[in-house]
């Protein structure tokens, strides 16, 4: 029942905004792919092209190698869960789940059995008779998921289904979606703007920017080896540090590190460093000073003043006590290849980008 999905040179323009600008992506059967990107990058439009709610201006969507671009939304074999609560308010949970079966004129007894089975699957067997307004947001999205799965579609489309929920429910539900997806083996496309969400559940993450595919790869690859500065910036937090390239090495904060990937012609570059790759030790005569520390439970994010600029560092939570604001510290970067990009910071001041403390 599972299928491959292919986006082929998909292009869609709304007035003056180009939502999709030649998107190419192949999702393998049974794969869980997250489309990740900032708002307006075209990820939802791409998903809606698969569902049939948007028609691409050019290009095609293929399911199992068959062009479905001209198939009406009601005839496509793709279950969708929406961002906003989409349960029919006049039907209880069971009837909502059975809606698609009812459209297909499946016998009432079969419908009921199937709906109950699916509600059980999403962990809501007790809630079959409740109406949407009697369910919490998380429960509503679970029912919506069951409803999307009721017709045993070949593709499951998730359009930011968790963004309206509170943090704890969000994490629990995304784990559950992943568990269900693995056990059903259904091809799933998951749209999200939350990089943590994308990295934690997907087999592969596709980062979109301005309607184009920026990079696609396994979560670890996206995080550790971002192909472009945009991906590096968007996924996780990045420090931009001024550096000097010499050969295939770069000098940054007094350390010589190997360069990963292409080296720009101009030797003056930005060196991109993850906060967790910055090691901090208390040192009486250290070259840096802790400006602020924000406690995050498992870790602490420090804002450090280094020679001529600031840098963010993540250290284990238990070290928070000895790294309070004002502490003199020594800063080292983890010895590993680093990404460099054309200089955007005003040299030689290292500047901190992304979400500051």
């Amino acid at each position: 029942m599972t299928a491959s999905v292919e986006f082929r040179a998909l292009r869609r323009v709304f007035g003056k905004t180009v939502a999709l600008d030649g998107l190419d992506l192949i999702v393998a059967p049974g794969e869980f792919v997250a489309l990740l990107g900032p708002s307006g990058c075209g990820k939802t439009t791409a998903l809606r092209c698969v569902a049939g709610f948007e028609r691409p201006d050019s290009g095609a969507v293929l399911v199992d190698g068959k062009d479905i671009t001209d198939v009406p939304a009601s005839k496509r074999d793709a279950g969708m869960v929406f961002q906003s609560y989409s349960l029919f308010p006049n039907l209880n949970a069971r009837d909502n789940v059975a809606f698609g079966l009812r459209v297909r004129k499946v016998a009432a007894a079969v419908r009921r059995a199937k709906a109950d089975e699916l509600l059980e699957l999403v962990g809501l067997p007790q809630h079959a008779d409740r109406y949407p307004h009697q369910l919490s947001g998380g429960q509503q999205q679970r029912v919506a998921l069951a409803r999307a799965l009721a017709l045993e579609p070949r593709v499951l489309l998730l359009d930011e289904p968790l963004s309206a929920l509170d943090a704890k429910v969000r994490v629990a539900l995304r784990e559950e979606i992943r568990r269900l997806q693995l056990s059903l083996g259904i091809t799933t496309i998951f749209v999200t703007h939350d990089q943590e969400e994308a990295l934690s559940v997907a087999d592969r993450v596709a980062v979109l920017r301005d309607g184009r595919l920026e990079q696609v790869g396994a979560p670890a690859e996206i995080y550790d080896r971002p192909a472009t500065p945009f991906v590096a910036e968007f996924v996780g937090t990045m420090n931009h540090l001024a550096g000097e390239v010499s050969g295939d090495h770069v000098t940054v904060l007094g350390q010589l590190l190997p360069v990963d990937g292409a080296v720009p012609a101009d030797p003056a570059v930005d060196v991109l460093v993850r906060p967790e790759a910055v090691q901090v030790v208390p040192e009486e005569d250290g070259g840096a000073e802790v400006l602020a520390a924000s406690f995050r439970g498992a870790s602490v994010r420090l804002r450090l003043a280094v020679a001529g600029g600031e840098v963010l560092a993540d250290v284990p939570g238990h070290e928070a006590a000895r790294l309070g604001p004002g502490t003199r510290v020594g800063v080292r970067l983890v010895e590993r290849p680093v990404l460099v990009a054309a200089r955007t910071v005003t040299a030689p001041t290292p500047v901190v980008a992304a979400d500051a403390v």
């Binding site: 569902a51 279950g79 029919f88």
Partner: protein
């Protein structure tokens, strides 16, 4: 319209009495009930004959009572059906496919409010007259004649559809605002529902109270409408009332009270039907 207001006041009597509510309620009740009571007393009491219900008896047996009432009800039902069939799909289409046209549609639908019925009817009768002449040599002549059949004047239905458009638009718009139409429609489409299925199984059930109030207003307006019907020369209930009562004071008041009661009962029936279905 008066009947509708009356309905609201009467249903308000169930509420638990509190002092401040009483202060509002009593004058309001007096405002409606005293004239009604006085009228009723006037119809059943004459200094010469004392109390008798003869005015009502005379009315119910008068020629044309059933005919004109049935005509009005038929016109009301036809108007409700036509105006809902026209406006609901149009409003949905505008919401889903051309949201920018919404202000245009709003203005268009509100327009009948600012056109006085007398102007409306003048234009209508001119059009009918000229239309008959122009269409005389064509096959459409039969159509324009059929539309004006006094047995069931379709032209009145058309005119009433225009007149009730502002009220229907307002009711339906309020109803559509309470739900996320686009998402619900897309969810249903995604589950394989055809457009008619979406309309009747998804939108309509979630729009019950809006549809009920649109129907109320239409029915009330059609049953009480006098100007257009009378000037075009038809005799639905409102026109018949005026004709039959003529110069007989007692009878004309009796007829008003009776029609008020009738319309009120009718609206009550409609409202019970809708609220019962909703509870189901």
């Amino acid at each position: 319209m008066a009947a509708l207001t009356g309905l609201e006041t009467v249903s308000g009597t169930d509420s638990r009495p509190r002092v401040w509510r009483g202060i509002v309620f009593l004058p309001a009740a007096a405002y409606f009930l005293i004239p009604l009571g006085a009228s009723f007393w006037y119809t059943i009491h004459t200094p010469a004959r004392g109390v008798s219900l003869s005015a009502y008896g005379e009315l119910l047996t008068a020629e044309g009572f059933v005919r004109s009432l049935l005509l009005s009800l038929g016109l009301g039902a036809a108007t409700i059906a036509l105006v809902l069939l026209l406006s609901l799909p149009a409003m949905l289409a505008v919401r889903l496919f051309a949201p920018r046209l919404r202000p245009v549609m709003e203005v268009l639908c509100t327009l009948p409010l600012v056109v006085p019925p007398i102007t409306f009817v003048a234009g209508l009768s001119t059009s009918l007259r000229v239309g008959t002449d122009v269409l005389a040599p064509t096959p459409f002549w039969a159509t324009i004649i059929a539309v004006q059949d006094p047995g069931f004047p379709v032209v009145l239905v058309l005119a009433y559809v225009v007149l009730v458009l502002p009220f229907v638009y307002r009711s339906l718009d309020a109803g559509l605002r309470t739900m996320d139409v686009r998402t619900l429609v897309e969810a249903a489409r995604n589950l394989g529902a055809s457009w008619p299925y979406v309309l009747f199984r998804v939108v309509v059930p979630n729009l019950r109270s809006a549809l009920a109030s649109a129907s109320f207003l239409t029915l009330a307006l059609v049953l009480g409408e006098y100007t257009v019907a009378s000037l075009l020369g038809y005799e639905p209930f409102a026109v018949w009332i005026v004709t039959v009562s003529g110069s007989r004071g007692q009878l004309s008041v009796a007829v008003s009270i009776l029609s008020l009661l009738l319309i009120w009962l009718l609206l009550l029936a409609v409202s019970t039907v809708f609220s019962r279905e909703k509870r189901k």
